[in-house]
Every structure is written in C-alpha cells, then in structure tokens.
C-alpha cells in the first residue's frame, strides 16, 4: 500500500516541482519558485530530506534494523539510483542527438556538456560511468549516489559513536570550504557542480534533525525560539534578494567560502538560510493538509515516488528546453511546457501508486 500523506513526502513533492520548473532556464514560471526570494533553493531541501529519510531505512527507534540489513538496503538504493541516473543520461544524450538531426543544428550536441560524448566518446563514456562527466541539469543524482554510498558510514558512525557524527561531518565540510576541495570532472576540465564534501553536511543534518534525540531533540525543544530568530532573518534575506543587494564576495574575509553565497560549496550562508526557512515553513504542511487536502495530497503523491518523478522531470525539463528553443514560444509555450510536464508527472506517480496497490 502507498504511504499516507505525510510532511516529508509533501515537501519532497514541493522540491520536485520546483526543480522541474527551475531546470527549464528562462521560462516565465522560474521567477515564481522560492529561490526568487531566498538565498537557498529546492536543492537544499531535496538533499536534506534524503538525509531525513535515512531514519526510515534505519527502522523505528525502539526496534532498529540490524546494521547489516541497513547497509544492504542503502547499497541497493545507491545501485538503483546509479542505474536510474545512467538511464536518464543515455535518454538525454539520445534526445540531444535526435534534436540535432531534426533541427540540423550541431550546436545542440554541445548543449548541456554533452559535446564530449559525441566528439570524444571513449573518454566521455568512461567519465559518464565513473560520474566524472556530468550533463548539465543531470548533476544532482551523482551527488545523491555519492551520499547514499556514504550513508552506511553515517549510520554506523551514528550507531557506534552518536556524538561524533556531527563533528566529523562538520569537519569535512569546513575543510572542503577552507581548502576549496572538491571533486574534479573529467574529461572536460572543471568541478562537480554539487560538491559532495560540502553537500554531505546538509544530508547529515537532515538525518540528525529527523531524530528525537541529540541535535533533533535540541531543535525540537527550542523550536519557538528558533522561529523567532528565523523570521526577521528570512524576511531580511527576501528583501535583499528582491532588491538585488548582495555582499561583494571580494570584500569577504578569508577564507572567503565561509562568508559568501555559493551553491556548489553549499556555503554556510545557504545552509543556515535553508534551515531557518525550513523551521518557519515546515509547519504549513498541517495547514495545507487540513484546508487544501487535494494540494497536500498531490505534492505527497509526487514525493512518494520521488526517484521516478525526479527522473521523469529531468527528461521532461530537457524536452521543455528543446521545445522552447525549437519553437521560441514565450509565455504560451512556457505555460504548456510546465503544465504538461507536471501533468505527466502526476499521472505517472498516480500510476505508480496504483501499481503498488495492485502488487
């Protein structure tokens, strides 16, 4: 049976909708996602909830699953994600190739960092398999795969030495920030867009805050005070964003990545902003569930099938970008692309629900 509507699926569904819309750059509806008024965006939410969901793999607090069982499940989950990533990347490459032929435009082949796949297939395919070559907008799942591969360590460390997990994760995070350490890409020169050494911190925070003890317990006990602090900061951040006021990064003290706003390194500004935003808005789920149940149900439906919807959304957003380029449609086409894309996502998620019931 599919899970009942719950807050985690609801917010995951919300993140999936936003990721889909934001992955069609330049479309009109992009400005209505929360990043327009925020220092962070739905990527932080998505990874945080992935960490939060680790507790479901661990089993209930009174009867946790055996470590071997948990590690096995996480390993299988990582494998499933990796396979899903490979499938959608190959589909994306095929879509770009077909579009290039259809429009007689070789430039399409270079779009989204796919050029090396066609001009240097030997190196590029090695890179694709080892995740060192990533297509544009297809770079979250590689991060997710790495995080899931690390997650057994997270669980084991937490089970053996629970007080150590946060300091270890924070130390890795700070070291990466101070030393500007990240994963390189190959064969094209560059860096991973989502630095796993930094984004693991978001993942671990999600895991720790999901728990009733430790950091999660502390946050729960002081939630009112945290919200009182969060409200003016979130409002101030929204005003700054709206007015286009940003700190000049060259004015920041060293090490600069500790003070600037950078998505790749998930700098402290972003993670703190996201956590404060989450404390303010997480309770609105109760409101939606009570007064707009169909809306809450729809987002939860997407969130329940997050991998499927994410993969579908990645392909649909690429299709949307291709259509926008081919037909230069403006607002009407943007509306069609976004509405049809979301409609297909809902239908497929509904089908997945039906399949789960039927099994």
């Amino acid at each position: 049976m599919p899970r009942a509507i719950n807050v985690v699926d609801f917010w995951r569904g919300f993140a999936l909708v936003e990721i889909f819309v934001n992955h069609i750059p330049g479309n009109v509806y992009e400005q209505f996602t929360h990043k327009a008024l925020s220092l962070s965006d739905s990527a932080e939410l998505f990874v945080f909830l992935a960490g939060w969901s680790l507790k479901y793999v661990e089993g209930p607090a009174h009867a946790p699953r055996p470590t071997v069982h948990v590690v096995g499940r996480l390993g299988l989950r990582a494998g499933k994600l990796y396979a899903a990533h490979m499938v959608i990347v190959m589909m994306a490459i095929a879509m770009l190739a077909v579009t290039s032929l259809w429009l007689d435009n070789p430039l399409i082949l270079e779009w989204f960092n796919a050029g090396a796949v066609f001009t240097d297939p030997i190196e590029a395919h090695i890179g694709l398999v080892f995740l060192t070559h990533q297509l544009g907008y297809f770079d979250i799942l590689p991060l997710y795969v790495v995080l899931l591969c690390l997650s057994p360590l997270v669980v084991i460390l937490h089970r053996r030495w629970p007080a150590l997990l946060l300091p270890v994760s924070a130390a890795v995070y700070l070291t990466a920030l101070v030393g500007q350490i990240t994963f390189p890409t190959w064969p094209t020169q560059g860096e991973w867009f989502f630095n796993p050494l930094c984004w693991q911190f978001d993942f671990v925070l999600g895991f720790l805050l999901s728990r009733p003890e430790g950091l999660g317990g502390f946050a729960a006990r002081h939630m009112t005070a945290i919200r009182v602090i969060a409200l003016p900061l979130i409002v101030a951040a929204a005003v700054l964003r709206l007015e286009g006021i940003e700190l000049d990064p060259t004015m920041a003290p060293f090490p600069r990545l500790l003070f600037v706003n950078d998505k790749s390194f998930l700098t402290p500004t972003r993670i703190v902003h996201f956590l404060l935003l989450a404390t303010l808005f997480a309770p609105t789920f109760t409101f939606f569930e009570r007064y707009v149940p169909r809306f809450a149900g729809a987002l939860s439906l997407l969130g329940r099938h997050s991998l499927l919807v994410f993969c579908l959304g990645s392909i649909l957003s690429l299709a949307g970008q291709i259509l926008r380029f081919a037909f230069r449609g403006g607002l009407p086409l943007d509306t069609i692309v976004v509405c049809v894309g979301l409609a297909i996502s809902f239908v497929v998620a509904r089908g997945a629900d039906w399949w789960e019931r039927a099994r």
């Binding site: 750059p25 429009l103 050029g115 240097d120 544009g136 060259t250 990545l257």
Partner: protein
Amino acid sequence: MTTMGRRVRIALFLTALASATGARAEAPVAPSSSACGLAAGDATAIAFPNLERAMKERKRIVAVAIGSSVVGGSFRNGDYYELVEGFLEKTFKGLDVVVVQRGVSGELARDAADRIRLEVARSAPDVVFWQVGTADAMAGLDPAEIGETVRDTIRWLKDHGVDVVLIGLHYTPVLRNDAEYQAVRAMITQVAREERVLRVRRYEVGETLEKLRAGKADTATSGEVATRTDGCMAEDLARSLATGLFARRP
C-alpha cells in the same frame, strides 16, 4: 579536418610560435594557419592593464574561463586553453600562465555573472575569459537583459582589477536566420565595443570556416567545422592577448 590533421596543425602552430619567441618584440602576433588567419580577420589591439601588471610584478597570470558548457569545448577541443597557455608562456619567457576552468554547462549569463564574482574572490584572476550568449540565446532570453548583465559584470570586473575577454556566440548555419540568436549576438558585440573589451569572434570565425569549406568542396560535417572553429578560436584569443600586451609594453 581530421583529428590528426588538427594535431599536426597545432604542432606546426606551436613550432612557429617557438621560433617567433626569439624575436618576440618584432613579432608579437602569432603566425596562424591560413584558414584561421582568414577567419580571424584583423585583431584590434585592446589593452589588458591588469594582465600587464601581473606579468610585470609576478611573472604569473591567472585566467578564469567561465560560461556555459562549451566554454572549453569538448575534451580535445577543451585543450585550446592549454594552447593559449602554451602560446603565452612561449611568447613571454619566464611567464607562468594558469587557466582555471570553471565552465558550467548551459549556464545563463545572469548565473555566470554571480559565479564570476565568486570566482574572482576565490581564484583572484587577472583576466576572465567569458563564453557568453549561446546558452542565453538558446533559452530565448531577452537580449537587452543579457546585455545589461554583461555590461554590469564587465564594469564590476574592471573595478576589481580584472581584465575581460568575451567569447562570442557559436556559429552554426541553421542559426544564421534565427532572429533571436542574432539579436543576442548583436547585443554581445555592442557591449564589447562600448565597454572596450576584447570579443573573440567565435561566430564570425565559424562562419568564415564554413564558407571556406563550402568553397573547397570540403566534405567536413558541420560538427567538424565547429571543431576547427575551436582551434582557430584559441589562436585568435592567444594572438589578441599577445597583441594587447605588446601594444602596451614600454
């Protein structure tokens, strides 16, 4: 042209550069292959005061290459920044050139503008090579908005002691009559001219090479022409930098 052919051409190019180094004051402009030379046209000397200062004071220049996915081309084409590095290091003896590649695929100008500021804080470059316009044009963004973003960013970079080279839009025959694509191209050209920064004429180089190919009944595909364009771009960029640096040397 085959890959082997291109390698031979690059080798010849570097050999020519190496021989040119001995008489560098007299021959600042790198010899280039005839096709590239025809395509590149006349290189206007644009000053690079920050590069020049870095050369004098540190004997080391740092360049950040940024923009959409195609900032460095594909793998072998991506080496064209190594070609630029090699050329400058051979031309200016004792100079250490570092190109930091920070291209993000499909990145729009407005996102790249934010990252440029971060990269200046992070890598402290003397020059930024900014591949701009192609992703924006393909995403159908407003040319005026793109122009404003590029202009603001150029001024910010100049205020922060960083020179700028804009790398223009890509060429492909089917986009010759695409009004939106051409509008973005015109906007980038206009901004570069008004702000007096070097614009590497990627589109024009590609267009000329395509015409040369057609004239010779060359059987190269459009993709191969694009690959040649990347090689010529490297030459164009290297020659323009050298021209600008020599032009300002006392």
